[in-house]
């Protein structure tokens, strides 16, 4: 019983981590039609900023708060300078963002010397319930993920920002002809997606430690999650990430991890093949 509870918690918490990482990726993919290969590096930057704060002796939570803003601002700038030119050609966008990611990743690698560096949790230790130990930080991540998810949903569904974003990405010239400032919307959406990645990086760095390939590690999983969930809505990728995350944490409980690893991807592809619109067909938020 206790065992099952711990198992459930652990699986859920990894699911939450994947959801957190995929949130930004999903927003950019669904809303902008850009499969951002540099998204992993935004996660990395968020982690790096948190590490910097820690290394400079500042409180870690300060770094965590700063990370989404800094990464978001960077996202805004990059959108205006680079990403903007790619909307017409999604495949070129993949390659362009790939190159961008390469640059960021290798630069960070240079900065941290290619090492694996630990960053302590602001809320460390474990919560003990009887004989069970539950990581306090993983618990915090679950809570924050839920909050962020709810916040994003409200932002996109309840405010006219969401409407503007969807209109712009659907038909930019018509959006302009409806008085929407498309450059601003593009920039804001991309920045928002980047900021979410930055936040994800900040939150997961205590769990996984900082290393240059931190973001890359989750990228393909993220893409698969977006596909499984369904492009075109906010909910889709989130659902997909939940499924992929929990599946890849749960399968090793029942089979050889090496098999589980490949199986997740095979299952995902087969699923998409027979349900190309994804878990949640793309409409609305």
């Amino acid at each position: 019983m206790a065992n099952a509870f711990v198992a459930a918690f652990e699986i859920l918490s990894f699911g939450a981590i994947i959801v957190l990482i995929v949130l930004g990726l999903g927003i950019i993919a669904s809303m902008m039609g850009i499969f951002n290969f540099a998204q992993g590096e935004f996660v990395l930057l968020g982690a790096y900023i948190t590490y910097l704060a820690y290394a400079k002796g500042m409180p870690i939570w300060a770094g965590m708060v700063a990370a989404p803003f800094v990464v978001g601002a960077l996202g805004f700038v990059l959108e205006a300078l680079i990403i903007r030119r790619f909307y017409a050609a999604p495949i070129v966008a993949m390659l362009g963002t790939y190159a961008l990611g390469l640059i960021i990743r290798e630069s960070v690698r240079g900065l941290i010397g290619g090492f694996y560096l630990t960053v302590p949790e602001p809320i460390g230790g474990s919560i003990d319930i009887g004989a069970m130990h539950i990581s306090a930080w993983r618990f915090t991540i679950i809570v924050i993920t839920l909050l962020v998810m709810g916040g994003c949903y409200l932002l996109l569904s309840r405010t006219s920002f969401g409407l503007r974003v969807r209109a712009t990405l659907e038909n930019p010239s018509l959006a302009r002809a409806s008085g929407i400032s498309t450059p601003l919307i593009y920039g804001a959406t991309f920045a928002f997606g980047a900021a979410l990645a930055g936040l994800a990086g900040a939150l997961i760095v205590p769990v996984f430690s900082l290393f240059a390939d931190l973001g890359l590690r989750f990228l393909i999983q993220g893409f698969v999650a977006v596909m499984v969930g369904g492009v075109g809505s906010f909910i889709g990728p989130v659902a997909g990430a939940g499924v992929i995350g929990t599946l890849s944490a749960a399968l090793p409980w029942v089979m050889a991890p090496v098999v589980a690893d490949v199986l997740v991807f095979v299952l995902a592809i087969v699923f998409i093949k027979f349900r190309p619109q994804g878990l949640i067909a793309g409409k609305g938020v």
Partner: protein, 363 residues
């Protein structure tokens, strides 16, 4: 994925004139007249350069050039699939690498290294894998979207990479080292000018075949596919079959390249089926210019050459510089370096001009 023709059209429309600074398709008449002749010139120059290379290059550079040519062959396979049919195969390495592994196993376990056997075997392996994966991804009730195919192939190659790493028989992470050289009777193809001219010959033959194919009416059907698959289906084309065919041909060429590569380098390793090499080939082609066969070759030569040079001269930061260069090209030359000399019309290809000339020649 696109639900209605309306949506399909809409998607296309975005491509044409959405941002004001996106250049709208040029069709100045002057360009049509002159540009047509540039492509053969470029091809000729490249061929002559390739023929002369071993004469002027030092030995180790000839070996390097051999590798580049094999990779160019690989790039060709991707260009055929993406540049001409619009199928984004982000997992092209799967066919390249599986053929490499296949021939490595032939050499290791069965002592088969005869060129007459191994190259067809490698080609066949690439073809088979492409047929299977392509059949799965491209055929079926729902027309598959570009994004689905790209991520599907990417995932396929990612999974294969992990499988190769995990499977002991294939040497796991360490791959299969020390593959015996390819042979013909008692002659052994070791790295050097002989190997170079062998692969150059193969490249030229495959190039010409591809060129013939993409300029045929079949090529026009592919161009139509790339534009709007559904529309093509309504004309009565078996769109999915066409896609599967070209995808399989691409896989076969990749397989041929992969088997040459395995013998030339003397080892195979998991990255060869994985995402790293898959992305690499996409970069070659985009860098050079997709949709022109020669662009794929030029792209490979330049990307490989530049990395070779950079890793010599900027040892610590060369990946960053390479990334910057890629980004700059993608940003300012989204159609690849070849677009410096080639007009849009010639790149997309036009099928109308030919017969007119022919008719004039033979009244």
């Amino acid at each position: 994925m696109l639900k209605s023709m309306g949506a399909a059209k809409q998607a296309v429309q975005v491509e044409v004139g959405d941002e004001m600074d996106v250049p709208v398709i040029d069709h100045a008449p002057a360009e049509r007249g002159t540009a047509r002749k540039i492509l053969p010139i470029v091809e000729g120059v490249v061929l002559v350069a390739a023929l002369l290379a071993p004469l002027v290059l030092q030995d180790y550079l000839t070996v390097f050039a051999t590798r580049v040519i094999i990779l160019a062959l690989f790039a060709l396979s991707f260009d055929l699939v993406w540049g001409y049919a619009g199928i984004m195969s982000f997992g092209q390495a799967l066919f390249f690498g599986s053929a490499g592994y296949g021939v490595a196993l032939l050499a290791r376990d069965l002592d088969i290294t005869n060129i007459v056997l191994v190259l067809p075997a490698g080609t066949l392996i690439g073809l088979t894998f492409a047929l299977l994966l392509g059949g799965f991804l491209l055929l079926g009730r729902h027309p598959s979207s570009v994004i689905f195919v790209s991520l599907g192939t990417l995932t396929g190659s990612y999974a294969a990479d992990r499988l190769a790493r995990g499977w002991y028989y294939l040497g796991g992470q360490n791959g299969i080292p020390s593959i015996a050289p390819m042979s013909l009777g008692t002659y052994e193809f070791t790295e050097g000018p002989a190997f170079y001219y062998l692969v150059l010959g193969i490249l030229v033959v495959v190039y010409l075949l591809c060129r013939f194919l993409v300029r045929s009416q079949f090529g026009l059907a592919l161009a139509g596919l790339r534009e709007n698959e559904q529309r093509i289906a309504f004309f009565g084309y078996k769109a999915q079959h066409l896609k599967a065919i070209i995808f399989t041909i691409g896989g076969a060429v990749a397989g041929l390249a992969g088997s040459l590569y395995a013998f030339h380098e003397g080892f195979v390793w998991p990255n060869m089926v994985g995402v790293v090499v898959s992305t690499q080939v996409v970069l070659y082609v985009l860098f050079g210019g997709s949709g022109t066969l020669i662009g794929a070759v030029i792209g490979t030569v330049i990307v490989e050459g530049v990395s070779f040079w950079l890793s010599d001269n900027y040892r610590d930061v060369w990946p960053i510089i390479l990334g910057l260069l890629l980004l700059l090209v993608i940003l300012f030359r989204p159609l690849g370096l070849i677009s410096f000399v080639l007009g849009e019309r010639e790149r997309v290809g036009s099928f109308g001009a030919k017969p007119k000339e022919k008719r004039n020649a033979a009244p």
